[in-house]
């Protein structure tokens, strides 16, 4: 600790604290421009100069750490004069076109001049102008360099945090322009973080251009509806249209960061295809009906079937409150445990994943998991594309503390450049790879491991076989093993590949168990791709367990089981809340067949999706912007969101719909606002009992040590037999097809966002550079992708450094849905690519 005075005020702060931050703690504001917490410190703009007793020159408070006994003055005459001077310099070449600047009203330069500035400037020379008209840098960025203050925050966030580094300074001195290389159109993450950090109106949102003034906007705090990183943002509306989503420095896990989806993917809200009235099938046609008629018919129709012939699937993007009521409705009103929260993962894969990653045991803080850890192992996740801000946060953490990082995946990813070891394995061979690593550790540990329970397992394993199966060199396996063995603690990031290919969980659990038995502190951060997947599980939207992972007596069917039963006419009715099964279920044909055999299908939806179009009753619902509630991110962080506006037309919140149905079933049911439901959740799910809903940066809203009891019998069940069916191979289908999320494309919502659509205009297939050469293809070429069951047209993207022999098509393209290539029971599909003329 160091004691010092700032403007005569005594304060004691931690050693190494910057004067600027110490002043903030003392309640003294020092203006800044180039400084931004979490960005590298450059001390360039000179606005933050302060006087320090005994120093000849004024010093930058944003780079100078405090010292014992320091006497700082941030308001002396010299400081004020210098500050005014810097502001006058800023304005000398600034275009001063506030009336037409989108930033006006929330511009740091405006505020600064207002607070500290000289009231008059004397610049009478010709201003330097970089261009006459603003120029677009990407579909989401429009640039005006005449307003730049050269703080380089844009460059630093893009390079150091986002890891893309497509911005830089062109030219020198007053002619220096912060922009892309030669102002060329950007091919980047389109995250808009450069826009967020720009203090003035240089980097601007293109979709928001000239749409509003900040003071005319109505705002609400919300949670990004895409991945489970759980970024907080403020969405803002004007005249009934959501026009902007902004992040807030110092708020949420994400701080000032968002990814393209979180920043620009909200416009599906105002998509004119939104459903606005309940639709009921009458004489084969879906026709508008009243809510009374809709709900009554739903209660009557669903209630008519025997419990085991009813099922419900709810989206992992609904709120905890929605999901809690949904499972309550299915369980107490319709008496069935046929409940699931996804159409993609298998029931037992989910159980195994929860167990292996310890989700049921309580929350894990991302920041905490990185602090002081010796090694990081990222496996089974396309983190850079699926959870972009998690990628940004990891990269940022490496800036302040270097940690040995390993990444294992089939596809290359942006985060590779931060890793010391990358392992490119064949798809779905996580088990072989992780088992191989465990085997090397076991052998190296010798005596120490000989007595362990798992010792038997390693006896007959051949490292060579495992290495061959995964396609990863023994030397890399050895390097990973030795690093883990030599570390006292390690953090694993384990993602959705383990849900797709649950076999990998065996290797994962084995490795985790072995390391734990050897005394290592192992932390697992689950990496999930739907914003409330963890919440859905916590709420018990699962056939085998209820809220708080409480096992149910007669486990029901999962999504696969329900569709299979429907196909066999053993299940007659489904209630689907927000899942486009036809596009999601990894076997289109089965899904379609099964749904068409149902006697009664109800769908809650925002849009008339393929699944909704098959329904007997479609209920229009509110989007995330139109409702209150909570969501639980992948860490277990429970965060609340508030409604910004009313749902369109007669659309209602899922919470209202489920409440009404519960009330219809049980007159005792107390219809409450989401807040009331949350209290019920707190009473039912132990780990939520003390949760504080702050949405702040603190970890207070993490669900703590859970106290949830989980019957191991549920979670220990081996993955289904069908998952082990050997791959179908054919000579003429040389590439293994894999899927996952794309940076701009993840699920049904993104496909309804015009802005995201503009970032990725067509369905793509991605291959690595070696295969591209082999098949004479380059990015932008068009191909037909032919599999055993399906053929489709895609644009080629070449990704350097991915595993060879792998083709990747993102999930959920409206044109070219990848699920048509797959069949239930065949874990992998092979395809070939053939060039077609554009």
């Amino acid at each position: 600790m160091a004691k010092l005075t700032i403007n005569g005020k005594f304060i004691e702060v931690k050693d190494g604290t910057l004067i600027l931050e110490a002043a903030k703690q003392a309640g003294i504001e020092i203006p800044t421009f180039c400084y931004q917490a979490d960005l590298s410190r450059i001390g360039a703009c000179r606005i933050c100069l302060v006087e320090i007793a005994g120093q000849r020159k004024l010093m930058t408070s944003c780079t100078t750490p405090v010292m014992e006994g320091m006497e700082v003055n941030s308001e002396s005459a010299a400081v004020q004069e210098s500050r005014k001077g810097v502001i006058e310099f800023f304005l000398s070449n600034h275009s001063l076109d506030c009336p037409v600047c989108d930033k006006a009203g929330e511009c740091e330069l405006q505020d600064m001049v207002y607070k500290h500035g000289p009231r008059k400037g004397s610049f009478k020379e010709k201003k330097i102008r970089f261009h006459e008209k603003d120029y677009p840098l990407s579909p989401v960025i429009i640039k005006n360099s005449n307003r730049c203050v050269k703080c380089t925050r844009c460059i630093r966030v893009c390079r150091d945090t986002v890891g893309v580094g497509v911005l830089g300074s062109m030219g020198r001195g007053a002619h220096q322009e912060e922009t892309s290389f030669l102002r060329t159109y950007l091919d980047c993450d389109h995250c808009g973080n450069c826009i967020e950090v720009c203090p003035v109106g240089c980097f601007m949102r293109r979709p928001y251009r000239y749409k509003s003034r900040p003071w005319d906007l109505k705002s609400a705090d919300t949670i990004c509806p895409y991945c489970a990183t759980g970024c907080t943002s403020k969405i803002q509306e004007r005249d009934g249209e959501v026009v902007r989503s902004i992040s807030k420095m110092g708020k949420g896990v994400n701080n000032e960061l968002l990814c393209a989806r979180g920043r620009f993917g909200f416009d599906f809200i105002s998509n004119e295809d939104r459903l606005t009235t309940p639709l009921m099938r009458k004489d084969g046609e879906l026709v508008p009906v009243s809510w009374d008629e809709a709900l009554e018919s739903l209660a009557v129709n669903l209630g008519a079937f025997a419990p085991e012939r009813i099922g419900g699937i709810a989206s992992a993007r609904l709120t905890n409150e929605d999901l809690f009521l949904f499972q309550d409705l299915m369980r107490s009103a319709f008496k069935t445990n046929n409940i699931d929260s996804s159409a993609r993962w298998n029931r037992d894969s989910v159980s195994a994943f929860i167990k292996a990653t310890g989700i049921n045991e309580g929350g894990v803080s991302l920041r905490g998991a990185l602090e002081g850890v010796d090694a990081i192992f990222i496996v089974g996740t396309q983190i850079s594309e699926e959870n972009p801000v998690t990628d940004y946060l990891l990269r940022r953490s490496f800036d302040s503390r270097w940690v040995f990082t390993m990444i294992a995946s089939a596809r290359a990813m942006k985060l590779d450049s931060c890793a010391q070891l990358t392992m490119r394995h064949d798809p779905a061979t996580e088990n072989a790879l992780l088992t191989a690593i465990a085997k090397v550790i076991f052998d190296d540990a010798g005596e120490k491991a000989a007595g362990l329970d798992c010792a038997e397992l390693f006896k007959d394993l051949s490292l060579k076989d495992l290495s061959d199966e995964s396609g990863v060199d023994q030397s890399d396996i050895g390097a990973a093993a030795r690093k883990l063995f030599g570390s006292e603690s390690a953090t694993f990031f384990a993602g959705t590949e383990f849900l797709r290919f649950p076999d990998g969980l065996r290797g994962f659990s084995l490795l985790k168990e072995l390391l734990t038995a050897l005394g290592k502190k192992i932390t697992v951060v689950p990496v999930l791709d739907r914003c409330n997947q963890r919440g859905a599980w916590d709420m018990g939207v699962h056939p085998a367990f209820g809220p708080g992972y409480e096992p149910v007596e007669n486990p029901g069917l999962g999504n696969a089981g329900m569709l299979e039963a429907a196909d066999a006419r053993q299940l007659d009715a489904l209630y689907i809340a927000g899942v486009d099964i036809l596009n999601n279920y990894p076997d289109f044909e089965t899904a379609e067949k099964a749904l068409s055999k149902l006697q009664y299908l109800v769908v809650n939806e925002l849009f008339l999706t393929g699944t909704a179009a098959m329904a007997d009753l479609v209920l229009p619902v509110a989007s995330f912007a139109e409702k209150a509630g909570t969501m639980t991110n992948q860490e277990g962080r429970v965060q609340s969101m508030s409604p910004l506006m009313k749902p369109p037309g007669e659309a209602r919140t899922a919470h209202d719909i489920f409440s009404a149905l519960l009330k219809a079933h049980d007159f005792e049911f107390n219809v409450a606002k989401p807040k009331g439901t949350f209290e019920k959740i707190q009473a039912n799910v132990k780990s939520y009992a003390d949760v504080e809903l702050l949405n702040e940066r603190s970890d207070k809203s993490l669900t703590g040590e859970s106290g949830n009891t989980v019957s191991s019998s549920i979670l220990e069940k081996e993955a289904d037999e069908e998952d082990q069916t050997p791959a179908y191979t054919a000579e003429d289908l040389p590439l293994t097809l894999i899927t996952g999320n794309h940076l701009f494309y993840s699920g049904m919502l993104s496909s309804r966002s015009a802005t995201l659509g503009s970032l990725l205009k067509e369905a793509i297939v991605e291959i690595n550079d070696t295969d591209a050469k082999k098949y004479d293809l380059k990015s932008g070429d068009h191909v037909t992708v032919t599999g055993r069951y399906h053929e489709g047209r895609y644009a080629v993207r070449v990704k350097n450094g991915s595993r060879k022999g792998v083709a990747f098509i993102p999930e959920n393209f409206k044109t070219g849905p990848v699920n048509r290539f797959f069949r239930k029971g065949e874990w992998s599909q092979k395809v070939r690519l053939k060039k077609v003329d554009a």
Binding site: I42, V86, S92, I128, R172, G173, A174
Partner: protein
């Protein structure tokens, strides 16, 4: 004084290794290998050698900041960026006596344990860069570079790295940025390069002349060196004289030679007219006038005159020189070369250039001079690196003596001279 650094300037063969060796070259390196590295550092400290790059920092002391850990990678970067107008001393050594520099660099590297060194050379010095590369190749061939040099057990690699035309890359931390392949802008200190320099490893940055002085110190000892010139900054010094003199060129003289002697005895006096002013050490250094001509040309004597020795590049002006034009040319250089990182230098120097341009073009307005003075006050002491300060020092130095010429421009729209 017998030339030490320039002794080979007029030997057209000196750049070749045979000729260099024949003149006793690489003997100092051989001698250095018989010494303990720490003793070399001590010797250089004792000699009192101060850096010739401009700041005059004691060279031995700089070397002693490098951590002693032998397992740690360390670097030497020779600053051959020589961008300051009026300065051309390093070029003389590079073009005509490259092995002198290579020998000095190898001794320095041995002293503080750098296994790799770079010569960061100004991009325009194409001839010099080629010459250095050829000389380095020769040195490798003769075993003065590479593995186990002269059986000493010390191995060393040397590379030439060409700059891309930015003056700021002569500033040591910007130089490191540039060597690492970035756009060069000064970095925050601390950490100082001696702790975290090139590739985040301990690095010494020394000027060409500084390093070229080292072999003679090894050869002749610290006492000999300390005996030349003033006690506080001894040694031979190259003065580059240009401008309105009869014999412009490089003159190697004892440090502390009075500027009058340099201009009138060595450079042959004023050409065309009478003496008006002289810039003593590259255009940053505030100018001296008639009454200052007895000032000794060393770091401390010039500092006492509110000027500086800088690089020792003397620019002489006769009485036909318009000082507003001088100010414009000087300041235009600074605004053109401002790296753009910090606000006062970037905006301030540009603004001043705009005013001076107007004045020079006959569009001066009353108050322009006062405005320039005000702007200097808004820049000086508030910039990130010395470039911005330097720009104001140059103008203020000019105004201190010739303010009337500026006012004349304001009032009459033309030169007084």
């Amino acid at each position: 004084m017998k030339p030490i650094l320039l002794k080979n300037q007029f030997n057209p063969e000196a750049y070749k290794v045979e000729s260099y060796v024949a003149g006793g070259g690489y003997e100092s390196l051989k001698k250095a290998f018989t010494m303990k590295p720490d003793d070399i550092i001590q010797l250089v400290k004792d000699s009192g050698l101060r850096g010739r790059g401009g700041a005059g920092f004691p060279t031995g002391l700089k070397w002693s900041f490098i951590p002693k850990d032998p397992t740690m990678q360390k670097y030497l970067a020779c600053n051959a960026d020589e961008g300051e107008p009026g300065t051309f001393k390093d070029r003389g050594i590079i073009n005509n006596d490259p092995h002198l520099l290579i020998e000095g660099m190898t001794i320095a590297s041995f002293a503080f344990g750098a296994s790799v060194s770079y010569i960061y050379i100004r991009g325009e010095f194409v001839f010099g860069a080629r010459r250095l590369e050829a000389a380095i190749a020769e040195a490798y061939e003769k075993g003065f570079l590479g593995e186990n040099i002269m059986g000493s057990g010390f191995s060393h690699d040397m590379y030439v790295h060409c700059g891309a035309g930015a003056y700021i890359c002569g500033e040591e931390t910007a130089l490191i940025d540039s060597l690492e392949g970035r756009r060069g802008t000064p970095r925050i200190k601390p950490p100082f390069p001696a702790i975290e320099g090139l590739n985040s490893k301990p690095t010494v940055i020394n000027n060409v002349e500084t390093l070229s002085t080292v072999p003679s110190i090894i050869k002749n000892g610290a006492k000999w060196f300390a005996g030349i010139g003033p006690e506080k900054c001894p040694g031979p010094k190259i003065y580059g004289v240009s401008g309105h003199v009869q014999k412009p060129g490089l003159y190697e003289l004892p440090m502390g030679t009075p500027i009058r002697e340099i201009i009138f005895n060595h450079a042959g006096g004023i050409k065309g007219g009478t003496f008006k002013a002289a810039i003593p050490g590259g255009i940053t250094a505030p100018m001296l006038v008639e009454k200052d001509l007895d000032t000794r040309m060393d770091f401390d004597s010039l500092a006492a005159k509110q000027s500086m020795l800088g690089s020792g590049g003397v620019i002489v002006m006769n009485n036909s020189t318009c000082m507003v034009k001088v100010a414009l040319i000087t300041n235009r250089f600074f605004s053109h070369e401002s790296c753009g990182k910090c606000t006062p230098c970037r905006e301030g120097t540009t603004w001043i250039t705009q005013i001076l341009k107007r004045m020079e073009d006959g569009e001066g307005r009353p108050g322009d001079t006062a405005e320039i003075e005000r702007l200097c006050g808004m820049i000086f002491g508030r910039t990130f690196c010395p470039l911005g300060d330097g720009a104001t020092m140059a103008i203020r130095g000019n105004l201190a003596h010739f303010r009337d010429e500026f006012i004349y421009h304001e009032e009459h729209g033309r030169c007084k001279v």
